[in-house]
């Protein structure tokens, strides 16, 4: 099946005007599959880290949201051990007017503002609530250990 014009245009724009701190490059043999790198936001425990993600545009994109997963290990209350992300715009709040760019920005923002009240990784969220400083310290250590640029 030919690649829809929308995916071609989105890819072109991502290449021509990249978002600072975010890169998304499609695979040559599958233009719906992207390698994504997100830089940890400054003044967050993820600062200095570069996180790898995979992004896939399903057949009925943009009617359904892209599928995205962290490949780099990350200590975050809304991201589980398998790298799955708990983010409303990736699920029920998806809208076809959103795009790869806005979704990646939302994920970057999620790194800067963890939300332990809507957890995906229960153990991490609990720790975050009980002893935030210790949790942030662990997140920082994991970043240094796993997300080296």
């Amino acid at each position: 099946m030919a690649l829809p014009k929308r995916i071609i245009k989105e890819t072109e724009r991502l290449m021509a005007e990249p978002v600072p701190g975010i890169s998304a490059v499609p695979h040559e043999d599958n233009l719906r599959y992207f390698d994504v790198h997100i830089h940890g936001p400054s003044q967050s425990p993820y600062e200095g880290g570069v996180f790898k993600l995979e992004l896939f545009l399903p057949d009925d994109y943009p009617m359904t949201p892209p599928k995205i997963r962290f490949l780099t290990k990350i200590y975050h209350p809304n991201i589980d051990r398998l790298g799955r992300i708990c983010l409303d715009v990736l699920k029920s709040n998806w809208s076809p007017a959103l795009q790869i760019r806005t979704i990646l920005l939302s994920i970057q923002a999620l790194l800067g503002a963890p939300n332990p009240d809507d957890p995906l990784a229960n153990d991490v969220a609990q720790r975050w609530k009980e002893d935030q400083n210790a949790a942030i310290e662990t997140a920082r250590q994991w970043t240094q250990e796993h997300a080296k640029p």
């Binding site: 030919a2 929308r6 245009k9 009617m63 809208s95 076809p96 007017a97």
Partner: protein, 563 residues
């Protein structure tokens, strides 16, 4: 396996009194370039051939002129009938009578449509500023003022020629056609736009041009440049935000956002929120009766007819390869209802295959009942199944070791079978979606029916003061809201009497009664112990009021018998 819609294909060009776009043949000659009418009357002065940027100048400017005030649009509102006027040109809102559902604030008042061919009262909530047109005209204004500055000392003399035949009622409601003359900077295009902006060029007027400082060639260069600047700026606003292509058959929502008709229809398959502002859209998902945005259609055809044609061709190619005729698998078994769960035990091999294929695909299939009485089914003739059914989506699937399976499904829509065939032992069909009319139509039906019933009831009671009314007439008298209240209070009453058919077990399967009156009848039918053939009638209804009346009839029957 998408439901096939009546008019989902091709480009609908709206018919209306919005400006259409028919450029006169490029070979037409005239010393003074004017619109078609006048040109023929000056045809003796044939000393030069007109080139493309010139012959359609007047018509291009007309594309952005409000039909009522004749100025280029300010805060344009595209009404539910597809016409556009400036917000300021709308009459003041008035109360809409005899409407009880949905009695929301933004639907209690409405504007009488200023377009004589429409004339309906549009609810205020459906008259938002057209976002695309607003941005487009802002861009054109910017390009226009840039061009005015660049024009320097070049001036055109413009003479307004009011139409000799009568203007339409909306065109002369506020504008005085007197035939003004102005000398304005720029080429023809910019000067014409400026004159319209000054409120001195009537929508229906033509223009006679005289160049006061330029040669013909200079004039043409100026106009060609301005036109391509405008086109470039405009095209950026004319992309659909769903497919990123040039808008095809632009269709505007009640919140003022515009998409390709087919993109909006696809969005509505997935939910009824506007993709941009997330406001709820109360329109039938197939957009069958939703008119296109006539002004945007005209602008697209006027500004870039070649791009529009290319877009239509590309789409036709795409759809030819993608659509097969009989794309919905059909399961003949039981009555299923929209938004309600249906549980199935799959054991026949042909249905095992069908379910496997469904699970690999979009998890949807159609459920229809057996035609036990052998009644003919519309155009289909006598078929083993009934023609109306429910589209089901698989939510849970449990495969047993011996290959049988239990599946839990939920009704996601209604359909009517238009054509059917067989595939590997099971039925497949081409189906057409069955859906409710728009809210406006729903409100119109309520207002009309209650008003008529009121009149008949008064007449009847004058003649037979002590006889009770015919039950059907009494039913028509009730407002939609009263019908709903009666249904819900009946359910409450039955619950407090612990009616056996409302046991906890049943409610735990089907949930409590939904608040949405559109869905309530389906829930009621799911829990009510009456024949399925009677419930089947619900699948054919196209309005909420019609369904609530059916429920009311059932309630009346139940109340007539002891429990």
């Amino acid at each position: 396996m998408n439901l096939i819609r009546n008019n989902s294909k091709g480009c609908l060009i709206a018919e209306s009194d919005e400006p259409s776009f028919d450029p006169p043949p490029a070979t037409r000659t005239s010393a003074l370039m004017v619109g078609s009418d006048i040109a023929t009357h000056n045809s003796e002065q044939t000393d030069r051939v007109l080139t493309p940027p010139h012959y359609d100048v007047r018509q291009l400017v007309r594309l952005v002129q409000c039909l009522q005030c004749s100025k280029p649009f300010t805060a344009p509102v595209t009404l539910p009938c597809g016409h556009t006027v400036c917000r300021e040109c709308l009459p003041s809102a008035e109360h809409r009578a005899n409407i009880s559902w949905p009695n929301t604030e933004d639907r209690q008042r409405g504007y009488t449509c200023p377009f004589p061919d429409c004339g309906t009262v549009h609810p205020t909530g459906e008259c938002s500023v057209d976002v695309t047109l607003t941005k487009l005209i802002d861009k054109i204004r910017v390009e226009g003022s840039k061009a005015t500055q660049l024009a320097g000392n070049h001036f055109m003399l413009l003479e307004e020629v009011p139409p000799r035949t009568q203007t339409t009622p909306i065109e002369n409601r506020v504008f005085q056609y007197v035939g003004r003359t102005r000398e304005l900077p720029g080429g023809r295009l910019v000067a014409t736009f400026t004159m319209a902006e000054m409120g001195e060029l009537g929508h229906a007027s033509e223009v006679l041009y005289t160049s006061t400082s330029m040669t013909v060639e200079e004039e043409q260069v100026l106009d060609t440049n301005v036109r391509s600047c405008i086109q470039e700026a405009a095209l950026k606003e004319l992309d659909c935000l769903v497919c990123y292509n040039l808008m095809l058959d632009p269709t505007t929502t009640s919140c003022g956002h515009t998409f390709c008709r087919r993109c909006l229809a696809r969005v509505l398959d997935h939910g009824n929120d506007c993709p941009i502002c997330r406001r709820k859209l109360h329109i039938p998902p197939s957009l069958q009766d939703q008119p296109s945005n006539a002004r945007l259609v005209a602008i697209l055809n006027g500004l870039c007819p070649d791009l529009v044609a290319a877009r239509v061709n590309a789409l036709n190619l795409e759809e030819q390869s993608a659509e097969s005729n009989l794309s919905t698998p059909i399961f003949i078994c039981t009555l299923a209802l929209p938004s309600m769960p249906t549980f199935l035990h799959i054991f026949e091999p042909r249905y095992r295959l069908m379910m496997r294929r469904c699970l690999e695909g979009n998890r949807q299939f159609g459920m229809v009942m057996y035609n036990q009485a052998n009644h003919p089914q519309g155009d289909l003739g006598t078929t083993p199944f009934l023609e109306y059914g429910t589209l089901l989506e698989i939510v849970n699937f449990e495969l047993l070791r011996d290959g049988r399976s239990f599946i839990e499904t939920r009704g996601v829509g209604r359909f009517r079978i238009r054509e059917h065939g067989m595939l590997d032992g099971y039925n497949i069909a081409r189906v057409e979606r069955v859906e409710d009319v728009s809210l406006t139509e729903e409100e119109r039906m309520e207002a009309e029916e209650t008003k008529d019933a009121q009149a008949s009831a008064e007449g009847f009671q004058r003649q037979h003061p002590n006889t009770p009314l015919d039950p059907n007439l009494a039913l028509n008298l009730k407002s939609t809201h009263e019908l709903l209240t009666r249904c819900t209070s009946f359910v409450e009453r039955m619950r407090s009497h612990s009616a056996s058919w409302l046991s906890t077990r049943i409610v735990s399967v089907y949930g409590g009664p939904p608040n949405d009156p559109a869905l309530f009848p389906y829930w009621f039918a799911a829990v009510l112990p009456i024949a399925e053939e009677e419930k089947y009638i619900l699948l054919r209804t196209t309005s909420v009021r019609e369904r609530l009346k059916l429920v009311d009839n059932w309630i009346r029957r139940i109340e007539g018998q002891p429990w």
